[in-house]
Assembly symmetry: C2
Homo-oligomer: 418 residues x 2
C-alpha cells in the first residue's frame, strides 16, 4: 500500500526544471523540497563552483577541487549534464544538447527556473576569443595555471636575450573589477613567495600590467578603498593603466588604445559579462542589455510558470548588483517561495539586503566594503578568509580550503605543470 | 676573492646533462653533488611522478598533485622544459625542442645521462592511438578521470534504452600487468563506494572487462597471488579475459581476437611499453627491442661519457625487471658513482637486489610478492599503503597522500567534472 501511495504522490508532483549550477541554481536546489517537486537540473557543469575563490586557484594557493561541490550530492534531484539550447514557452518544454555525445533531447516542465548566468564578454575585439584566457570556470583557472608556469619555463630556456625573457614574463590582466584585481594580486603573491625561490633571477624581468577602461579600480567599492588598492599595487609593482583598453590582440602582441604595443606571455581577460546564447536567442522579455526582465517574485514578465534569477536577469525598477551574493539570495528566496506555492501558501516579494563586498589585493591584505565596516589591510584579510570559510557550501570544502592554505603556507605553491 | 674563486670553480666543473624526470633521472639528481658538477636536466615534464600510485588518481582516491614533485625543488640544478630530439655523440651535444613554443636549440655536455623511460606500445593496432586512453602521465590520469565521469553522466541522459546505458558503462582495460590490474581495482572501488550513492540504479548495468594476451594476470607475481587476484576479481564482477587481445578499435566498438565485438564507454590501454622516438632514432648501441645496451657501470656500450638507465636500457647478461624500483636503484647508484668519478675515486659495478613487488587489487586488498613475504588481503593492503607512504619522495607528498586517503574515507571521491 505504501508503495502505491508513493507512486501516486510522485506522479502528482509538479516537474520543476532548473537551468544552471551556479550560485542561483544551487541555492534554489538546496531550498526546494523534493517531497513537493520532481526536481531536474540541467547544466553543462556537473558541479557548483564557489567563484569568489576562483582567482586563488590560478596559481595554486587553493586547489581546484577544494571550491567545487558535485550537484549530485543534492539528494533526490535528477541531474542531466547538458546545455539547454532553447525554450518553448507555449509547449512548456526545453531543448537540450548533451555536452559529450552531442545527443539532442527535450524535457517537459511545469515550472522552469532559469539561472544560467552570463558568459565573458570579448566585446568583439579582434583576437580576444583566440588568445586571451578567460577566468570563469575551474577549467579556465587550470588553463591559466598551466600557462603561467609555461611562461616561466619558456623564459628559462637557454639562449634567450633579456628582452625575450621579459616578453614571456609580461602578464596582462584586462579588467579592474574584483576578478581582475584578485588575479593580479594572486599572481603577485605567487611571484613574491614562490617564483623567487624556484625561478631565480626573474624578479626584475617580470611585469604585471592591469588595464581598466574606467578611471579607477574596483568601481563598486568605496573610493578610499579603490585608492588604497592603487597604492598597494604600486608598491607591489603592478602597473595599473586606467582609462585604457585593448584594441587588438595577436599571438604575441597586445595593442592598447593609446597606441602602445606590448609583447606578452599571458593575457587574462576579465573585462565584463554578456548574455549566453540561450538568453540572446530567447523570445522571453529582455531589456536592451539582453537581461531577462523579472518581477519582484523573480517571475519572468508575462509568464505564468517561468522564473529567472541571478546575473542573467534584472528587475526594472530595482536593479541589484550583479554578484554571486545577489544570485544566492534570490535562489534561496525562490526555493522557499516554490515550497510555499506548492503548499498553497501566500508568498511575499523578494527583498534584497546588500551585505557588502570583499576583495583580496595581495601581500596578505584585503578590502571590506560593507555597510557597517569599511576596512583594508592585514586584519581585513583575516576577516576575508573567515567570511569565505563560513560561506563555503560544504564541510568538505571548508576543510579542504583550510588545508590548502596550510599547505601553501608550509610548502609553497606547486609549480608542476600538466 | 671568494667570488672569483667560485667562478673559476664553476667553470672548471664538468657539465652533467640528465635527460628525463622519472624515477631514474630523479634519483641521479638527488644524489649528484652540484659542487662537483654543473647539472642540467632536460625533460618535457617539469615534475617527478610517483607512478606507483598513478592508478589511484584516475578515480580520485588520491589527487594528482599529491604524487608529483617539481624538479625545480632540487636546488642548484638547471631545469629546461624541452624534449631531447637527438644526440650527437661525436660533438658531445644534444638537440632539444621546447614543449610550448617549439623553439629548437642545442646543449653541450661533458657527461650525458639518458633516463627517458619508454612510451606506451599500441602495437600498431588500428584505432588504439586515436580512441584508447593511456595511463602513463598525470595528464593521462586526468583525462581518464574526466572520461569515467562522462560515461556515468552520458548514461544518465534521458530517453536511453538499457542497452545504450550498458554501452556507456562498459569499461575496457587492456593489459593484465600491475597498471591494468590496479586501474581495474580502483575503478571497482569507485563504483562500489561512490557510484552507488551518486548514480543510483547503475550497479547492474556496469561492466569492467580486463583483457590480457597472456594466460594469467600479474605475470611477474607468484602464481598463487595471480590466482588469488583472479578469485577476487571474479567476486568483484570484473570480467577477466586471458589469452585474448584486441584487434581493432573504432569510436564505439572494440574487436577481440575471438571474434567478439563490444560497444564501450572507455578503453584504458596499459598493454606494454616501447622505445621513445629519441632511442629508436639514436645511433647508440641497442638490442632488438630498441633498448640501449649498457654495461655494469650503466655506461652505454662503447661510449666514454654517455650513461643510461631505467626502462630504456638493458644489461645484456643480467636483465633486471623493468620497474620503477630498478630505475630508482640505478639512479641512486649512478649519482653516487658520478660523485666518486669527479673526486677520482674508484667505483664498483651496479649490484641489483630485488625488493619484490606490490599491487593493489581493490576492496582494501593488496598483494605483496617479496623474497621474505608473499601475502595478500587486507593486512597486505595496510602494508602496501605503509610502504608507499615511506617511498614517497617528499614530506609534502606523504602528508598530501595521507590527507587524500582520509578525505576519500570520510567524504568519498569527488565526481565533479572539469
Amino acid at each position: 500500500m505504501y508503495f502505491c501511495k508513493e507512486i501516486i504522490h510522485s506522479s502528482m508532483k509538479k516537474n520543476l526544471v532548473v537551468l544552471g549550477s551556479g550560485f542561483g541554481a544551487f541555492s534554489v536546489l538546496k531550498e526546494t523540497d523534493t517531497n513537493l517537486y520532481n526536481v531536474k537540473i540541467i547544466s553543462p557543469r556537473n558541479h557548483f563552483l564557489f567563484t569568489c575563490l576562483l582567482p586563488s586557484t590560478t596559481v595554486g594557493t587553493i586547489e581546484f577541487r577544494s571550491i567545487i561541490e558535485p550537484i549530485r550530492n543534492i539528494k533526490d534531484a535528477e541531474y542531466i549534464q547538458a546545455y539547454c539550447t532553447g525554450i518553448s514557452e507555449n509547449n512548456n518544454l526545453i531543448y537540450c544538447k548533451d555536452t559529450d555525445t552531442k545527443k539532442e533531447f527535450e524535457i517537459k516542465y511545469d515550472i522552469l527556473v532559469i539561472s544560467v548566468g552570463e558568459i565573458t564578454n570579448s566585446y568583439n575585439i579582434e583576437g580576444v576569443n583566440k588568445y586571451a584566457y578567460f577566468l570563469r570556470e575551474v577549467a579556465d583557472a587550470r588553463r591559466i595555471r598551466i600557462k603561467v608556469i609555461d611562461c616561466f619555463e619558456n623564459a628559462s630556456l637557454p639562449g634567450l636575450s633579456e628582452e625575450e625573457k621579459k616578453n614571456f614574463l609580461r602578464f596582462f590582466v584586462c579588467g579592474g573589477g574584483p576578478t581582475g584585481v584578485e588575479f593580479a594580486a594572486e599572481l603577485h603573491d605567487f611571484i613574491e613567495e614562490d617564483v623567487r625561490k624556484k625561478y631565480r633571477g626573474f624578479e626584475k624581468l617580470i611585469e604585471i600590467i592591469l588595464i581598466e577602461a574606467g578611471d579607477k579600480l574596483l568601481n563598486s567599492f568605496d573610493a578610499k578603498l579603490s585608492e588604497y588598492t592603487l597604492k598597494i599595487f604600486k608598491r607591489q609593482k603592478i602597473n595599473v593603466k586606467t582609462n585604457s583598453y585593448i584594441t587588438r590582440v595577436t599571438e604575441n602582441e597586445i595593442f592598447v588604445n593609446d597606441g602602445s604595443i606590448y609583447n606578452y606571455g599571458l593575457l587574462v581577460w576579465a573585462a565584463g559579462n554578456t548574455a549566453t546564447e540561450l538568453i540572446r536567442n530567447s523570445t522571453l522579455p529582455k531589456n536592451s542589455r539582453n537581461k531577462l526582465i523579472i518581477d519582484h517574485y523573480l517571475k519572468v514578465n508575462g509568464s505564468a510558470n517561468v522564473y529567472a534569477l541571478g546575473d542573467c536577469t534584472e528587475i526594472p525598477d530595482e536593479p541589484f548588483p550583479v554578484t554571486a551574493q545577489t544570485a544566492q539570495r534570490q535562489g534561496k528566496y525562490l526555493g522557499k517561495a516554490l515550497n510555499k506555492i506548492a503548499k498553497g501558501k501566500e508568498i511575499k516579494p523578494f527583498k534584497y539586503k546588500d551585505l557588502g563586498m570583499l576583495a583580496y589585493i595581495g601581500s596578505h591584505k584585503a578590502l571590506a566594503n560593507t555597510n557597517q565596516y569599511k576596512g583594508s589591510g592585514f586584519a581585513t584579510w583575516i576577516f576575508w578568509r573567515s567570511v569565505y570559510i563560513t560561506k563555503l557550501v560544504s564541510l568538505k570544502n571548508k576543510i579542504l580550503v583550510l588545508f590548502d592554505w596550510f599547505k601553501t603556507f608550509v610548502f609553497g605553491r606547486d609549480v608542476s605543470n600538466f
